[in-house]
Symmetry: C2
Subunit: 148 residues, 2 copies
DNA sequence: AGCTACAGTTCGGATTCCGAACTCAGGGGG
DNA sequence: CCCCCTGAGTTCGGAATCCGAACTGTAGCT
């Protein structure tokens, strides 16, 4: 288990990076945050093979990022994939990607969707801040200390 | 080119997700932010095969996330991989992963490193905020509007 | 000239991924 | 009751990636 072994590394950054840094997983989460919830809909909106989709959904279920919720349609019981609280907490990760994408990977064409704060209509962006003084931080403002 | 085609999708979130959502890329960036800069050091600290390491470094070079910088050691000229401004701007993405990892994937053992604000010693965390009113936002506070 | 270190490249075998077909379960219609 | 339809996977052969180990190339040092 070469790549997968990072899931157990002693690093709060390495573990999520290994989990989400698997092919399709970030795109899958993007789709989920945009409201996709059913197997067939994932398959329709992304060009992912069914077997890999099954695998990725199962990994996210096992990690507790997603949960299967039963629902009714035409009097039939099926189930859909929804974010858990742990999954919803990934929002800053996706927004950080988007903030970066808007600045550095912006194409000429239109974007497929826009985001606005419901209350005031403002834009959305991710940032890093100090938990004590509240200052916005860049990599240079942060001191890395290796474990003793 | 199935997965790679997302690199050209009209979505400021999908494009970065496809780029960084490739195996090893996030772990590679983690290592770079921790100070690793040379081919042999990447190879030593991650269990990645040399050919894939070559490939991932080249992709990040082509995307302008990394640059090759010559340096001298023992009077020899070699080069190392360093972040560009575009690359440094990925810091919030990595910090968002770490913030999430600390909350939801924390193991019993020690972490391999700690981060502190240089100026005040405080902790580091990622968050999402409104560009207008400055409020901290969750997924529920944000309205998604599809392209007209 | 030989030895060493860095930075790759090459290549055969193992994994993973893809696409299409197949399975299975629950209704609905005839 | 039997057949068809849909959603949600599972199976499987071939293609694309990845792995590990060996090989190449370059530059300096002895």
């Amino acid at each position: 288990m070469p790549y997968a072994s990072y899931a157990s590394m002693p690093c709060a950054l390495g573990r999520p990076a290994a989990l989400l840094g698997e092919r399709w997983t970030l795109l899958l989460l993007r789709q989920i945050f945009l409201g996709t919830r059913r197997f067939e809909d994932f398959q329709a909106t992304m060009e992912i093979s069914r077997s890999v989709l099954t695998d990725r959904l199962n990994v996210l279920l096992q990690e507790g990022v997603l949960k299967r919720v039963p629902y009714h349609e035409d009097g039939r019981t099926r189930h859909e994939y929804r974010l858990t609280e742990k999954g919803r907490d990934l929002y800053p990760v996706l927004m950080a990607l988007r903030t970066w994408g808007e600045k550095w990977m912006a194409p000429e064409e239109e974007e497929s969707f826009h985001l606005h704060h419901r209350d005031c209509g403002g834009g959305v962006r991710a940032k890093v801040e100090c938990t004590d003084c509240g200052a916005e931080l860049t990599a240079r403002d942060v001191q890395v200390t290796a474990r003793s």
